[in-house]
Subunit: 236 residues, 2 copies
DNA sequence: GCAGACCTGATCGTATACAATCTGCGATGA
DNA sequence: TCATCGCAGATTGTATACGATCAGGTCTGC
């Protein structure tokens, strides 16, 4: 109760605070402040956010449903540690969903959409230039989500959102290169294809992009980085 | 507390009873004992299953995450009523996922898998012959799930499971023909393609099968069938 | 007679309390 | 010294209690 997160969005639409906790935790995972295997104690999380365990439990169960955290009965919740097999599955699923979605997006994109994508990519570059790798990684994932949104397929967008989230964990565990994102080129090429309304090219670029990502993963387990939970959540 | 469901599987692996409630409700929806729009009062569900609202809430939130129920704040939980747009999205997503999954399954299927599929299809026929349309519908959905399982893609299997579930609701709302399942032929053809290890044919058959289903939907809203909750859940 | 405000009953959102279970440490004996 | 047993603390699973919010009906004033 001493120092808690600034209540997130108090102008929020709904009173349900579980959503806030989910958002904070998800963002922390995306930015790699929360690493795979880290324990998420209900009491601890509840104190940090200033909510009771009821809320925390709901949030954790929701995250577990997206395979972002693993709940072990009578043991607790932990940030998920995708196995090699799961890592492969995630990218195979993305390879199945995203190329065709990129095609649809390219065919449907309005000039406004293109503008938003450009702004998004600028932010990505800024974060990268500023050395904020965590932020850059999260923005990079959001780029893929934006494309699904442009394709106007809410259901598929939900699936991709889940897969992008899990990809963060996969990258945290299996990424070799210290240089975080060399993939800006791919995003740029994708955007140009969409600008040209070239569905074929967009699909092909996305396919290659995902294959690149997968090929850059080393399917051995590097050391996880268990750090303090509180520091990860409060230390912006 | 007077008459409650027989506690489902008491040999179950885990103590979490929320999973039981989810399973029961899901099955009820699949078999169309619970129709779109039906209210799921927390107290009522809790009494029927002999659990507290805590459990019921967890179950309902899980179902909401799969878009099987819609939770309206301060109003309650209702069996979802997919809009025309959602209906289309569900089948578009299935068309994206299932054909390629069927191809993988055909290439990986063992004789044991084929045997299980055959038995499954027999059950489907039996249910249909016995006039148990609800059961037949559920088994028909499980057939698709079995294929994803054979393809050995747990992640994609999860997505398909969700889509198949939602398809039940879509069918309940937008199906015209009184004859429930004329699609047994498609399942049969699919199985033969898998028996022949013919990935191309399996993919093609699945694609056509899903297009058939979509074309049989009439995207106008027929009357929903609101009935008693308790009767739907206890009256096996 | 009708429209709008008020009240009431019911239902949900959240917090807290209690019971069940697990983990870790220390005592005990070989 | 090492392995095993048992207890204490901590953490999770579930139930219940209380406050907040909303839908529907009733009553009053025009």
């Amino acid at each position: 109760m001493t120092d808690q997160i600034p209540t997130a969005r108090q102008e929020g639409k709904r009173a349900t605070r579980a959503r806030d906790v989910v958002e904070h935790l998800t963002r922390a995972i995306h930015e790699r402040r929360l690493g795979p295997g880290m324990k998420l104690s209900e009491d601890e999380v509840g104190e940090i956010f200033g909510v009771s365990r009821t809320i925390v439990r709901a949030a954790l169960q929701q995250l577990a449903h997206d395979s972002l955290v693993a709940i072990e009965p009578h043991r607790g919740a932990f940030v998920a540690q995708p196995t090699v097999r799961e890592a492969r599955e995630v990218f195979e699923a993305r390879a199945l969903l995203e190329p065709r979605t990129a095609r649809s997006a390219a065919l449907r994109a309005t000039p406004r959409d293109i503008g938003l994508l450009k702004r998004h990519m600028d932010q990505e570059h800024e974060a990268l230039a500023a050395g904020q790798n965590g932020l850059a990684l999260r923005l990079s994932g959001q780029f893929h989500l934006e494309i699904a949104r442009i394709a106007d397929q809410a259901t598929i967008e939900g699936f991709i959102a889940q897969l992008v989230s899990r990809s963060s964990l996969v990258i945290a565990l299996y990424w070799r290169r210290p240089q975080a994102m060399c993939e800006s080129h791919a995003h740029h090429a994708l955007m140009r294809a969409m600008e040209d309304r070239d569905g074929d090219r967009a699909e092909e670029v996305m396919k290659g992009h995902l294959l690149d990502l997968l090929s850059l993963l080393d399917l051995q387990d590097p050391v996880p980085v268990p750090q303090s939970l509180k520091e990860a959540l409060t230390g912006r």
